[in-house]
Symmetry: D2
Subunit: 338 residues, 4 copies
């Protein structure tokens, strides 16, 4: 046990809109079946920024102080009862949503839809923007040898893309259109390429983001002028109603659309198009059974993390990490290294 019981656990806690405080919290003790992880890196997600800016996302409202952060990795420093002690020292990516394992959704293999899901940094569950986190040993996924903590932390956004590509059954032969060249879109596009997609194009309204997409080797389209060609798969990452509708209009008969980006509560959808072409439209809610594969994609270099990880901060600078996106149009993904 490398952990000093009296050691502190500085944590980035959201108290309200625009009110983030780094404060000491007790170091959690790993319960039976858990591991204690010293966090090495936490990626900042748009949802973290949204809670910071608005204090809520839809029905999820921050009513009590909550630690932010759910894209994390670190080193196991202690294990609870029933966990192999040799795991101490492992670098692990932390899958941030713990299901109840036993509800109907879980028993059908859809644990991401578990109604009792406890997900990091989703009120009232604390996240990983801290020095120490305790987590179910099964959801601490061993990183391949030679991987860094910040690389391992990216298994979370890669998982989002991976789950979407599974829903769309992306494979060799598919021409894929990704709408939105933010972090979610760039990860999804790279995952689609790893799934064998014949071609992957990305659209965005912002020239800087299109440049980022092009630098990763993708065909970048101005969202206002999509090409005349059709696509087999739409991975919608912007949440923008116009992107959703335009994307659907560019699908082939029997094309598949997966809605990833969160948009407004209602969108005017051309349903006769869905009917006449028998399009299949679905959405993703987090992911299930993706972490080992996401880590493997990162390990084999299928995901360019230099493009993804653009700024680094200490835990004390967490607030800067949350706000930098306002000042840098090209910001892709700030990472906090506690």
């Amino acid at each position: 046990m490398t952990l000093n019981d009296h050691e502190a656990n500085p944590s980035a806690v959201l108290y309200g809109i625009g009110d983030l405080r780094v404060e000491e919290r007790p170091v959690p003790r790993p319960a039976a079946g858990q591991v204690l992880v010293r966090i090495g890196a936490v990626g900042v997600c748009g949802s973290d920024v949204h809670y910071y800016d608005h204090g809520r996302i839809g029905d999820y409202v921050v009513r009590a102080p909550m630690v932010l952060g759910h894209e994390s990795a670190g080193t196991i420093v202690a294990v609870g009862a029933g966990v192999e002690p040799t795991r101490v020292g492992e670098l692990v990516a932390i899958e941030p949503g713990l299901p109840d394992y036993t509800c109907e959704e879980c028993l059908h293999g859809r644990y991401n839809l578990c109604v009792n899901m406890r997900f990091f940094a989703t009120p009232p569950i604390d996240g990983a923007l801290a020095k120490y986190v305790a987590i179910d040993a099964r959801f601490a996924h061993r990183a391949p040898d030679g991987m860094s903590a910040e690389e391992a932390a990216m298994a979370e956004p890669v998982s989002v893309g991976l789950w979407a590509c599974r829903k769309a059954a992306v494979s060799v032969g598919d021409r894929v259109l990704v709408t939105g060249a933010g972090p979610v879109g760039l990860f999804a596009a790279q995952v689609a390429r790893a799934f064998g997609a014949t071609s992957v194009g990305i659209s965005d309204v912002a020239a800087a983001r299109r440049t980022a997409a092009a630098e990763l080797g993708f065909t970048a389209y101005d969202a206002a002028h999509l090409p005349e060609e059709s696509f087999d798969v739409l991975l919608e990452c912007s949440g923008a109603p116009s992107a959703i509708v335009d994307g659907l209009r560019h699908l082939v008969p029997a094309g598949r659309a997966v809605l990833i980006g969160m948009g407004p509560d209602e969108v005017a959808v051309p349903l006769p198009l869905v009917q006449n072409l028998e399009l299949v439209v679905t959405g993703v809610f987090r992911y299930a059974n993706t972490y080992p594969d996401a880590l493997d994609l990162i390990a084999r270099g299928a995901i360019d993390l230099r493009m993804a990880i653009t700024h680094r901060f200490t835990l004390e600078e967490a607030e800067q990490a949350l706000t930098i996106a306002r000042r840098d149009e090209r910001t892709i993904k700030p990472v906090v290294l506690p």
Copy 2:
């Protein structure tokens, strides 16, 4: 050959809005691979009424006189080259859409999405409301022994429900909600029951239609007051935006929705719901490879046709068949017997 070359071919031809004329047309000669069918029964579909009332459905505009009718059956009276002459005398249900067989959609088994589809009573293709029709022998499906022409003609609307149930993969264990208790909904509900659905409920705004649903053994809901329970599958047959949205809101996680009824060009859809529950939404455009199974469902009594076939007319009375729905709220399905 039982056909007299000089025999007439009275046909119900739509000349414009509200302008239906029964006129003599030449008896078609069956080309190679075709059969000539003496029509025994033609069901009147909402689309026939819509062309009669509006002269168009969406982008399909009646620009030249067109024979109506696509739910038909009759007796083979002659065959073209290459067709087994013993087929003369067969009672057949006519599948009304002829694909090109060779486009990419056809080669993938999605012939209903064939871009060169020639579909009865869809401008500019003539339909079956006539005494004689020539059709590709493969699309003249032999009716089981003992079936009547009007029963066989119902293979068309049954096919719509069958295709929808295939898209939704309805099976034992599924609680199915059908929205809309018109002919399409009542057929779809009965097909869902034949697919083994654990329960099938139907909603409608009209009490008379709910009564019809209840008489078929279904739980009937007032569309304004759906129950609190959730369903695995939504078969949307009304096209009404409120029914679509309410239906989606009553689905379980990973529930499936198939849009059958035609509604407005755009509907405000709660996409976050689709995402959070990972609903799968698709639509149907006609059907493929359904006719033999639809005929079998009818033959084994899985579809109650007494409820479906409510009024009978001669070909000369075709205009009455198209307009009776205006006068009888309970009208389900008028049939013309040429």
Copy 3:
């Protein structure tokens, strides 16, 4: 709590080949999350008979005294911590295999393939041929109102058929061949009919069994003379190599075969046939997520239990229940009522 702590728990314990003893065992106390069930009925399965006759099934060897029986139902008489006390009094069907919920197979929704599965009456786990059994509350499935215990116990063999029909995706349009008209085959055939199969035929070598199949409304074939027609689905319930091979030879291109009956360790399979017709061959190992649907099939009368349940015994007569099959060729399913 309706249970007297000093009450006895007579149990039918297998000590060795042909050595079954009814002895007193302690009444189990329901642990947290468990319910205690007073068993009302236990069906006798071929596997029970096989353990009685041979002391083993393949690699599963009875090394210590073991209670037999896994097709059971009864009444909840006590609940452990965390279980709703109002469940006392419920009639429940007991799903007899408890997975670990958290292994990779479980997380993918394939809990029947859980490597840590604890399954009733599979060495070294005790079964349900006793007065009292404690079981995870989630695996005690409430029976529909008005169902008897012996009907509810049949949810187990019905589940086998249900799982096989799910694997085969049996639906409207499928012509199904069931090989073997023993209890497993008769249940599977009835389930296939409930799934909407267009036709279901059953083959057996024994005339008495063919008669049983015919009385349930199925076309019965002498296994030595299968008809010339082809089938879409094979549900193989005999385990006999000749039935497997003959069954495969009667499948259409892209036909599906599910192996249910246990046969020899190796079977000479015509693999070029599997290749040339692109047949899909798989097998079933118990079932997952079937119990509510099996109970529903029984409740709606889709399964004829008069045919299935043919003899009734008390717990003291358990040995007779295991051996009656030797004396009555038509025996389908003896049931023990503790």
Copy 4:
């Protein structure tokens, strides 16, 4: 029309076992819907060698002189009625099996299982080892710009691997075992990698073939000593019974096996393993809808053709191309350039 009517059409015709003659045949005239292709390259397949050596493959017997060869590509030199004349000059890969487009299998999108399939170099249909071939314009697939004829000809064996990977649904996360490192196996392995497989291992009994596999970046196993690990997918390319059985034994629960290599008429298969692990076993018969994607995989460099194409011959040397495999253990794929 660039074709001189009097031009000759030298063709490699198999007259009997070991009796291949290059003889003049008339230049075919492209019928309506056809194109005439001047062949640029023909790969030699194991089936060509088998017909040369044995005069038959299973039930397919060479009863009349037949042109060999079905892996071909060339340049369109003339078109039949109804084909766009601008196609003259296109380099095309020839998909060698023409279905009837209209049988039940075709209408379901399984045209490779068409019962009226006319497949090159399968008795009595002539193949492509000739100077000119006429083919349905739809089955002459335009090669991407810059591709050579011999590269385009490889779309055929790549299609075999592609179809198998589709059947197995190979994707990111799958550990794939390919048994047999001959041409079929090496192509299939490379295709599996392009489908995103997490790992691909190949086994073979021959060290030279293992070396070839290793040079392509695959982990190569001695077929006699497979590793202890398990695989998600088996792509069986050897046809050897021991490889089939060993391969199945190395699959995970719910693993998928696709039988590609042709073996003996019967193989002793451990069916209890298929049942206990719920393995899914199927086979492939040629391919459907693969050519454009196979050409794309070649164009993007996913398939190493230097390894595949090892010897080149003129049409007059066709017999050497058929027999060189006997003399060179490492021979992978001889190509004839007419």
